[in-house]
Point group: C2
């Protein structure tokens, strides 16, 4: 498959991808969009021009919206059909390729658009599904000999996060203030967090509304997943460690989370399926699965100081996940908890076995005891004010590349 749009062979947005997003075009109007190479394509106008006609179930121009929720809710038969139509339209010698007026009206350079949150997120849950991350954290905060808690290999542990503070890549994040209890202190103190961290995660977006009392089985779970994003779960470790027993993370997390603008569909990720780590002991029946449910997605984290260069500080991979997305969604709904279109379910920090693959400063510097040295000679135990954290993700196999672009965020001093 080749496109009439030229792009670099290392582009995340090849014709094999066709992700979905929402953008402001020329500061004038908002519409749902896709991307190929470095061109952003206005789907609302493409629909108006008739290029998306005769797709069963797509009866209205749902791309004239500020979020993808209404489109996503149509379900896989429709959203897949749209994606395949777009691939066809973007191919060499398509009807669109010869229609200069339509191309001029629908295709925009990157500097003509401003990406927005792709979906309204009604509910956000964060899992804790990397065994390497859970082991590292358990070793640091609890007991190295019993780093994994007794429930960890039986349930995909998760907690509810804060939906209101999920923002699109590029939005700057204020360093949180809060209550902490320094080691050795008699009583807690108040001030800006001294241990601000990122968490390298991915998240998936759900495409249906279920009724309370109903469950989604592992087998059917992927039908309910529209696609994935990169996710940075900013964390204030000092606030978190003082507050989190017994009810879990709260102010250490809810001041901000950042997502990448493009939702990459599960269909685009199909070629990159891979096997999961073996789950031992055997899981309960409702968590058993068949086939490859992990995905081989390369992940990178960069730290850029103000006026400095990018530093590659972590190289991880989504394939390391112990618990897969189908298991997460089956577990989340097994008690009858209802899900909603646009819900975001994040993986938890994605760490690999190797130190260079750890997905947080907490792990990379082992709670600050082993600081990172940056290109400019400065050291980091955690994130400084005006540092920018950028995460990238892409899959590549047999000459096919499908990527997420990036999620990026700069830390501003506390307000």
């Amino acid at each position: 498959m080749t496109s009439f749009i030229q792009y670099d062979s290392k582009s995340d947005f090849s014709i094999h991808n066709i992700p979905f997003g929402v953008a402001v075009f020329n500061n004038e109007y908002i519409a749902c969009c896709t991307r190929i190479g470095d061109m952003v394509v206005d789907l609302a106008t493409l629909y108006d021009f008739g290029f998306l006609d005769n797709i069963e179930g797509l009866d209205d121009n749902l791309f004239e919206a500020y979020t993808l929720n209404l489109f996503i809710e149509l379900g896989k038969p429709v959203t897949n059909a749209v994606r395949l139509r777009l691939q066809e339209l973007f191919s060499e010698n398509s009807s669109l390729s010869k229609d200069e007026k339509s191309i001029a009206d629908c295709f925009f350079d990157l500097d003509q658009v401003q990406m927005m949150m792709p979906v309204h997120v009604p509910n956000y849950t964060d899992f804790y599904s990397s065994i390497e991350h859970a082991t590292n954290v358990g070793a640091m905060f609890r007991d190295p000999e019993n780093a994994l808690l007794p429930n960890w290999k039986h349930i995909p542990v998760g907690y509810h996060g804060r939906a209101s503070s999920i923002v699109i890549s590029g939005v700057e994040i204020f360093r949180p203030k809060g209550q902490t209890k320094p080691v050795g202190a008699d009583s807690p103190i108040f001030g800006p967090s001294q241990q601000l961290d990122f968490e390298l995660e991915m998240g998936f977006i759900v495409n249906e509304n279920t009724e309370m009392g109903d469950s989604i089985s592992v087998e059917k779970a992927e039908d309910s997943i529209f696609g994935m994003v990169l996710f940075n779960d900013w964390s204030a470790r000092d606030i978190q460690s003082w507050e989190y027993v017994p009810l879990g993370p709260f102010l250490g997390k809810n001041f901000g989370s950042s997502v990448s603008p493009w939702i990459v569909t599960l269909e685009a990720l199909e070629p990159f399926r891979t096997s999961s780590p073996k789950q031992e002991p055997e899981v309960l029946d409702y968590l058993k699965f068949n086939g490859d449910k992990n995905f081989d997605i390369n992940l990178e984290v960069y730290l850029k100081p103000e006026n400095g260069d990018e530093n590659l500080i972590s190289e991880s991979n989504f394939k390391y996940m112990y618990w897969n997305m189908a298991q997460q969604l089956a577990h989340h709904t097994v008690n009858g908890c209802n899900v909603e279109v646009g819900d975001l379910y994040a993986s938890g920090t994605i760490s690999g076995k190797d130190k260079s693959s750890y997905g947080s400063m907490l792990e990379l510097t082992w709670r600050g005891t082993n600081p990172l040295t940056l290109n400019d000679g400065s050291e980091r135990k955690f994130i400084n004010d005006n540092d920018t954290i950028t995460m990238k993700g892409w899959a590549e196999k047999d000459g096919i590349r499908v990527g997420f672009g990036e999620v990026s965020g700069k830390i501003l001093p506390a307000k």
Copy 2:
């Protein structure tokens, strides 16, 4: 103040109350409403008839809505002015009292309306602010000698709950299924929860959107609180106790929470302010407050078996709260977490010192070791299928009564 509408002196919905809700009228249309005595008043029609004219800031008929969010967002100056106007209109000898046609069109008997969720809840947080409850739970699940964790008296501990599964009083709740690890078992099992519980709580509804990075101070927090509801945070203790370490309650809670239909404004509760329990040790500056921030609100819990009578099983009071609502909201936002109109912040279980005032079956039966005996001779360690739990709340002082009505929910067998 007396009304031209007749009601019993024990009515929760005296002319001193004027709560806000949303209802389906005659199965025909939906509108925001208030209540006096046993009459529900359609505010959209009242607005159309001109009775709410000349209220500064109320420029549109925001009562023609499926939720109160747009109205609440107008803020206290407007919502208070509307409440005072309604009090005036409902008073003896008001213009409305003589207008039979308007009364016929705007006033409905209870059996003509179906109450709905009063607000769309974008985010829900549950606190843990009763010292008696936290002490009881700590004693049962952890260590009786150190029941309160070290952070408890320094921070109003809270966690994010699930917004999607908050339902209006009357909606039936399916018993959740899930993973539990019975005492003495080698590995977890799966099945319907055997320890289904209620939690007697109250919640407050926020009336503004804040920006990320901004905080709401204790002094200003009450300006951001539109009003309160009764709240039943259904809990599956066996699921919860297996899953909750280290990230907090998840499937043990997110299968359903029930709210009462009427939001009682803080202004209506003003006469019932009372002092708080002394906070010792002294709290950090951002949590210090002046004046009476607790409210003397009587609370009752009833358990009704299928085909049986109501059993009063708990009598508690909102005044027992160690952490008040202003402190909760100040703490929640001190790190820059943004709030949204309609957000619901629940108190956590409200237990008093006395056993008869405990706000959950867990505490009332001391984890099942001391079952309750009901009127019909049957015993309860936790809640059985087809049991209905009803919570009532009201304040009363100097002949003035302001109440919440009730929040009720029946437990159905697991789906």
